[in-house]
Symmetry: C2
Subunit: 408 residues, 2 copies
């Protein structure tokens, strides 16, 4: 491969830049001449908005900073390529640019919607006998990509959620003699409860853990919820409950729609959900007279690289490296997946998989991992998730604040 | 002093337990026999809810864990002692318990409302010729206590705010080519803008910083705010604005009251404010059609010990030590204050001050530190605040999650 290009797409994560590091490192090892970065994903590429990554990453200090920088260093987009038929001009433009810069392989770091881009481009290349290779690099805090054991970005979000919840539980437990405080914490996840399930990870000998977890995999029953909170408040001075932003009643209504009509949509046409915790906190306050508090982790759960998981950072780099290796071996239209080895101590390896069987598929939490009666996660989930949050890569501080690498 | 007792009161902070560490350490050095802790502050003490701190802190590992544990290890309360006249029974009960446990000095770690407790108890002791000493130990993320240069708890909250905002700014800057996203971040602080001012600390060569800061020290003008956001959105793809929960219009209306009638009060009779950021985000979305996001740091800004400031931890310990030393020298009815030395490199020292001139007084940000025209903090504030966020005390991790010390 002479030159390659890498792009980032979709919602950012705490470790999405470690995959850029992986792509860059392997490319250098394989003697690739130029590693380009598309600025703002495929949308930016279409406008020829690209940079030479060597400008930043041939510097060792920057290399270390990039691993500690959240959000897409290259900039991201939520642009979905249209059907090839009827939009040939867009595809022709992309291949024209690839040829202009003598780019032999394109790497796209993203989630479900982004993998669709790799699918379309590799399909077009095949149809038109183009030699360029197209590889998907998985990334999503949502952990909802199919086939792969888990997705880079998920472990760090889990570590943030577990740590922050542990701190919130301590805070909420301060006032024992007053009437109980009900704290409802909203966690991201439209259809899959992977992130919210991570609330179970804060329970240990020094933490009672959250009192209940509500995932979108099961219908949400408001009456049962109210009665659960009432029961808990009789026994405990502090009640902390984790809810997914995406929980819905059995007739398909989002909880945040029970109080208002928040119906904004993002650029992919997904509903923008927010306010589920505050809706429930309002309802509980009204129904029980108890003191309530709603907390949303919001974008911090995907951006808190200062408390990222080292395992996650290393795996994010590993999938980037694997993608380059696979393309250099002639593969295209594939996504790198992570496989868990059958070892006593957690170990993982990478492989590649046909992207046609991955793009646009959402992986949910197996129902048998959910303790529906107690609104909690079963041991199976804990065994799955715990290895993913292990280890830390200490931030680099300057003047008391974490440092990042940014494009100039 | 034979035995002493220490209590924690009011809203918790990330370093309130380091003051317990300081009290305990100095007491041991001075040969105090028993160091008791009141569980849930003076309210718990009245119910004889006390523990022997030696049970936990004679263990070196616990000592280190306690410095890394957020929120009141002993439990807190929001109970204000009533006037002595007409409530002599409450005061008699407290002194009866002090005598029962042969307690010679009482230390109360808290903010404004808690210092009132020390004032009342030392006044009662003086009136009734009681020998016990009463000392206040400052603590509040709000930084609004008078006389002291700053308050333990503030520096760590600032460090959390600066770090998190830096991560939010990176996240919000991901999508350059789409229309701008306006992110409004709500920070605690009812009447004083100290915490919100810390939003200025994330600006550096690797971060553009927040675009505007709105403090409660100045009246909030909604029309000017909307026009400022419109201007910014024409120039930038990412706009991040920090607002204090306590900002009010010039006719004294809280911003969060512009949309709804959230008028809950806490146990001290303070209004419970929330939703200022989401109110503004709603208004901006409606008025401009721009994409908006509201983020509240909520209790995380006072509980995130995992990213606490080492300077703050050390000073929190120092004020605890000083309080014990001062009581052992015969002082009572005083609060420990922090003084900034007139040195080139930041250094601080402690002193004590008559609590009658501190309790119930709120210190605001000097207006001359605020750049009203640009809605930003002037250099004077940065010089004041930067030293307070320096240094880190790394968390102790177990299984990927931070460890705490909790009462059994």
């Amino acid at each position: 491969m002479k030159n390659i290009i890498v792009g980032q797409s979709g919602g950012p994560t705490a470790v999405i830049n470690s995959s850029v590091v992986g792509v860059y490192k392997k490319a250098r090892e394989l003697g690739v001449q130029k590693v380009y970065g598309m600025v703002y994903g495929i949308e930016g590429f279409l406008k020829e908005n690209i940079i030479d990554l060597g400008k930043y990453l041939d510097n060792k200090e920057n290399f270390e900073l990039l691993k500690r920088t959240p959000s897409a260093f290259l900039g991201s987009c939520r642009y979905k390529l249209p059907e090839i038929k009827g939009h040939e001009d867009i595809y022709e433009r992309i291949f024209e640019l690839l040829e202009k810069y003598e780019i032999d392989a394109l790497f796209y770091i993203g989630g479900n919607d982004s993998m669709d881009t790799i699918k379309m481009l590799s399909d077009y290349a095949k149809e038109h006998n183009k030699p360029q290779k197209f590889m998907g690099v998985p990334k999503t805090i949502d952990n909802d990509l199919g086939v792969t054991d888990h997705c880079p970005g998920y472990g760090s979000a889990c570590k943030y959620i577990a740590t922050s919840l542990k701190e919130i539980i301590r805070d909420n437990s301060s006032f024992g003699v007053e009437k109980p405080t009900i704290c409802i914490v909203e966690i991201m996840g439209r259809h899959a409860g992977w992130l919210t399930a991570a609330a179970s990870l804060c329970k240990d000998s020094d933490c009672e853990g959250v009192d209940a977890i509500y995932l979108p995999e099961l219908p949400f029953d408001l009456d049962k919820f109210i009665s659960k909170v009432k029961d808990l408040s009789k026994k405990k001075s502090s009640v902390v409950i984790a809810v997914s932003e995406g929980i819905q009643t059995k007739d398909g209504k989002f909880v945040c729609e029970l109080n208002d009509d928040n119906k904004r949509v993002d650029a992919f046409g997904h509903k923008q959900l927010s306010g589920c915790a505050s809706t429930l906190a309002d309802i509980i306050a009204r129904e029980t007279g108890l003191k309530t508090r709603a907390i949303e982790f919001s974008t911090l759960q995907r951006a808190a690289t200062h408390i990222a998981s080292l395992t996650d950072i290393e795996e994010a780099q590993m999938v980037g490296e694997k993608a380059v290796e696979a393309a250099s071996n002639g593969n295209s239209g594939m996504m790198v997946i992570i496989e868990r080895k059958n070892t006593k101590k957690y170990e993982s390896t990478t492989s590649i998989y046909d992207i046609h069987n991955i793009a646009n598929v959402e992986k949910k939490i197996p129902l048998e991992w959910i303790d529906e009666k107690n609104n909690y996660m079963k041991e199976e989930y804990l065994e799955y998730a715990k290895p993913l949050i292990q280890g830390e890569l200490l931030p680099i501080f300057k003047d008391g604040v974490v440092c990042h690498l940014v494009r100039k």
